[in-house]
């Protein structure tokens, strides 16, 4: 048990409460508290320790930081993946808006052929953005929708293709197999595609988000994260563990349900919010 005048039981308790309730998880909190212990002689006040912790967390996030990718291919293909209800379809609607604002032409692929009114939902986002939505009838093979969408986007000369997929839990083997197939078929339609595979993570999730990131990364080549619902009270501390263990960058954050509610991820803002 570490102790000096500053780092006493009360401070440890206070810090643990801040760190745990931000959803950082046992591994991240243990790592941080070990660092506090090793450096305990340098702290003159509780605020010193908090600044130290903020800096350590910031370092991790800055190390894995990558800005939202440039469109380097025509079309650059984005595959959107994640568990049920995370915000994939809504995020695609927001991304289309973002690309249009940059003068780019997006095409959307309604790759969720399973859930009730999933295609209709994406079509509304297509209308709001006045952009094409490639879809098929309910129950169609999602891989074939993706395949057709790539070919459509290529022939239209679109700048970017955003492929929506059905929500799936990472432990459901058959659903992960389906995702692997979608990914492979996209590659068949255009070599090198998908160029970005983004996992959409709900900020309300606890440690399961780390398992999600790990297992989705094992199935397909996840290149980045978009974290949603940060306009709520959840802090998303699990992103630190994900950064440390998987090195995945957080490209953007969702801060609401409207088309413009998508912002770049700012490690400094994020760290400050963790301690508010």
């Amino acid at each position: 048990l570490f102790r000096n005048n500053v780092v006493d039981d009360d401070l440890i308790e206070e810090l643990e409460e801040i760190l745990y309730t931000a959803d950082m998880g046992v591994a991240t909190v243990s790592w941080l508290m070990d660092l506090v212990n090793k450096n305990r002689s340098q702290f003159k006040s509780g605020d010193d320790v908090k600044l130290f912790l903020k800096e350590k967390i910031r370092e991790v996030l800055v190390q894995t930081y990558k800005p939202f990718p440039e469109l380097t291919e025509k079309p650059t293909v984005f595959l959107m993946v994640g568990v049920n209800g995370a915000g994939k379809t809504t995020t695609i609607g927001k991304l289309a808006h973002k690309f249009i604002a940059q003068g780019k032409v997006p095409v959307l692929a309604a790759g969720d052929t399973f859930r009730a009114a999933a295609v209709e939902q994406l079509k509304v986002w297509g209308e709001r953005n006045n952009c094409t939505v490639i879809s098929d009838k309910d129950g169609a093979d999602p891989a074939s929708v993706a395949f057709n969408a790539v070919n459509s986007a290529v022939s239209k000369g679109a700048d970017v293709l955003l492929v929506d997929t059905a929500g799936r839990l990472q432990n459901r083997v058959n659903l992960m197999e389906e995702l692997i197939k979608i990914n492979r078929v996209i590659g068949k339609a255009k070599e090198g595609a998908p160029h970005e595979t983004i996992i959409v993570i709900d900020a309300n999730n606890g440690q399961n988000a780390l398992t999600q990131a790990k297992q989705f990364s094992e199935a397909v080549k996840v290149t980045g994260i978009i974290v949603t619902k940060l306009d709520g009270s959840a802090k998303g501390g699990v992103l630190i563990g994900i950064a440390k263990e998987l090195g995945l960058p957080v490209y953007l954050v969702g801060v609401g349900e409207k088309i413009e509610d998508l912002r770049p991820f700012d490690p400094n803002e994020f760290v400050d919010a963790l301690f508010e």
């Binding site: 643990e16 745990y20 915000g87 009730a116 399961n208 988000a209 619902k229």
Partner: protein, 293 residues
């Protein structure tokens, strides 16, 4: 595996005579970490561990008993007591139509659960159900519920975008009475507990139609904020039951304990998949076992 860790920790307590503050210290720590890893809220963990400690201290350790197993037994009992308390059945004991109101954060599974509940009530309890889409905001939310209703051949109120959700709720009760519905299930938009306007809206729906059952629908993967979210929904609505969705995933589901601690509302149902029949009545021992890990 917590059970293995605790057994190892407590191995040295064999024949120690009594459980003391000092000799259970490590076991308490293991328990705390395991609950935190299961996403149980930090403050809830503290309270629960304190309860277990109180019960465990001074307990006689009979020579034949493995102290670790006894410690686990006490803990397991506390969990099951917490989760098992209250009436876990649906409250339909009112003059028909009984009204069920769905509430929760965005994407938690309300619309899907409304469909599952309608399916269960129709097939298992032979009830005549009316599904009511009161989410006028999310693109195709009304379509989503209408599609589910059509699939299971259950009546659905003809909501349209642009209608007011409180108005939909009130009119749907009239519609339900005219169509001899036994149960009316009102699906609402996902909302943040910190969104004053939206919380006012759902409170107004409740005041307007006086549901006999207000179900808080929560995602099994929810982390630490489960306490604050549930507490606010409970403060506004006095929730009568909880549904934990996506339990077919591998989340430990500690949110169940957090929500229980914050609201005291009984956990009534568990969502076990995307399909309309993947819906189970809650079993406290199963949830407890899963949280323990």
């Amino acid at each position: 595996q917590l059970t293995d860790k605790l057994e190892a920790t407590f191995k040295k307590l064999r024949g120690v005579g009594k459980l003391t503050e000092d000799n259970i210290k490590d076991g308490i720590r293991e328990l705390k970490l395991s609950l935190l890893e299961a996403d149980v809220n930090f403050k809830v963990v503290k309270e629960l561990v304190e309860k277990v400690k109180e019960r465990a201290l001074g307990t006689e350790v009979a020579k034949s008993i493995n102290p670790g197993q006894m410690f686990i037994k006490i803990f397991h009992e506390e969990l099951v007591a917490m989760l098992g308390e209250g009436d876990h059945s649906l409250n339909l004991n009112v003059r028909p139509p009984a009204i069920i109101l769905m509430a929760g954060l965005q994407g938690s599974g309300k619309t899907t659960t409304a469909g599952k509940l309608a399916f269960l009530l129709k097939n298992k309890m032979k009830k005549r159900v009316l599904l009511v889409p009161a989410d006028v905001y999310r693109p195709a939310a009304i379509d989503q519920l209408k599609t589910l209703a059509a699939k299971i051949d259950v009546d659905v109120y003809p909501s349209e975008v642009g209608m007011d959700p409180v108005d939909i709720a009130v009119k749907s009760v009239e519609y339900g009475k005219n169509n001899v519905a036994d149960v009316i299930i009102i699906d609402t938009a996902g909302r943040l507990q910190v969104d004053e306007e939206m919380m006012d809206e759902i409170e107004n729906i409740k005041k307007a139609v006086e549901p006999s059952e207000i179900l808080f629908v929560a995602d099994a993967m929810t982390g630490q904020e489960a306490v604050n979210v549930a507490a606010e929904f409970h403060k506004r609505l006095s929730i009568t039951g909880v549904v934990l969705t996506k339990m077919d995933g591998d989340a430990r589901g500690g949110a169940a304990l957090s929500i229980n601690a914050a609201t005291g509302a009984p956990l009534k149902f568990v969502g076990m998949g995307e399909k309309i029949d993947q819906f189970e009545v809650f079993h406290p021992e199963r949830i407890a076992g899963r949280i323990v890990g």
